[in-house]
């Protein structure tokens, strides 16, 4: 579940920090503020509920506040790439926002793939709120699989001399995955998923 061995040593801090500190959720929340800034009361209520759940997770997480601060400061001194990575995230954020605004206007031309896979989620979308970070881990795994999609698709089950083809493939790839790319992909999925969920809840609220 934690992809510790999969990434190179220099990237592992970035990955673990994101997973343990629930960074994607935090980033997403900032994003939401911009996105739904001028919307109606319902969204605000909704956001505050999510915010409260977030602060709950954070307070339970930060039982030793010294740690997180120290981690962050040390982190930034050790890992310059990390902050650079966050900076280059910004263009994709704005891209996504633009796309979403477009899809708000029901011109779904640019965001076909965005809507497509999310429609499969509607069947099991009745979960509780605290699985945001859960979903991020799941999306990270999916991102890793997607990175090796071509290799997996090329495996033919016929000429198998090994029991666990995919497993052995991933064992061979230990510490060779591209962490930056995987994280970016996972964040993208996560953001789309969260925005989608907000939408669904918003719709439900307006229906009632």
């Amino acid at each position: 579940m934690d992809c510790k061995r999969e990434f190179p040593f220099k990237d592992i801090f970035c990955v673990l920090e994101s997973l343990w500190a629930s960074i994607p959720v935090e980033k997403f929340d900032a994003n939401i503020d911009e996105l739904f800034f001028d919307k109606d009361e319902l969204v605000n209520e909704h956001r505050s509920s999510i915010m409260s759940s977030l602060t709950n997770t954070f307070s339970s997480r930060n039982s030793c506040p010294i740690k997180s601060e120290e981690t962050l400061s040390e982190q930034s001194s050790i890992d310059e790439e990390d902050s650079g990575y966050r900076d280059e995230q910004n263009p994709t954020l704005t891209d996504l926002q633009i796309r979403l605004h477009k899809s708000d206007l029901t011109t779904r031309t640019a965001s076909v793939s965005l809507g497509k896979w999310l429609t499969h989620f509607s069947s099991f979308d009745d979960d509780n709120d605290d699985d945001c970070s859960d979903m991020f881990t799941v999306f990270l795994c999916v991102a890793l699989l997607e990175q090796n999609r071509a290799a997996i698709m090329n495996m033919s089950p016929l000429n198998t001399d090994d029991d666990d083809l995919i497993g052995s493939h991933f064992t061979r790839l230990v510490r060779q995955h591209n962490a930056q790319h995987a994280l970016q992909l996972a964040r993208q999925y996560h953001r789309q998923y969260m925005i989608f969920r907000m939408r669904v809840k918003q719709l439900l609220l307006t229906d009632n």
Partner: protein
């Protein structure tokens, strides 16, 4: 898991406390009945199916053949 914490914090007692906090944070996942883990794996399966149906089909094939 403890190694990266120790590497960043460089203080054994502090690192121990952080590790304990992390374990508390992750405890629900490793409950004895494995329910949370099962739920999560299920979620992963569904997610793969939703995002990339072809890939999930392929993975299932490989699972069956092995």
């Amino acid at each position: 898991m403890a190694a990266p914490i120790l590497f960043v914090i460089r203080d054994e007692s502090l690192a121990y406390e952080c590790f304990c906090a992390l374990m508390r944070y992750m405890r629900p996942l490793f409950h004895s009945n494995g329910l949370a883990m099962k739920r999560r794996l299920d979620l992963l399966k569904k997610t793969i199916q939703a995002i990339d149906p072809d890939l999930s089909k392929k993975i299932e094939q490989c699972d069956i053949s092995s």
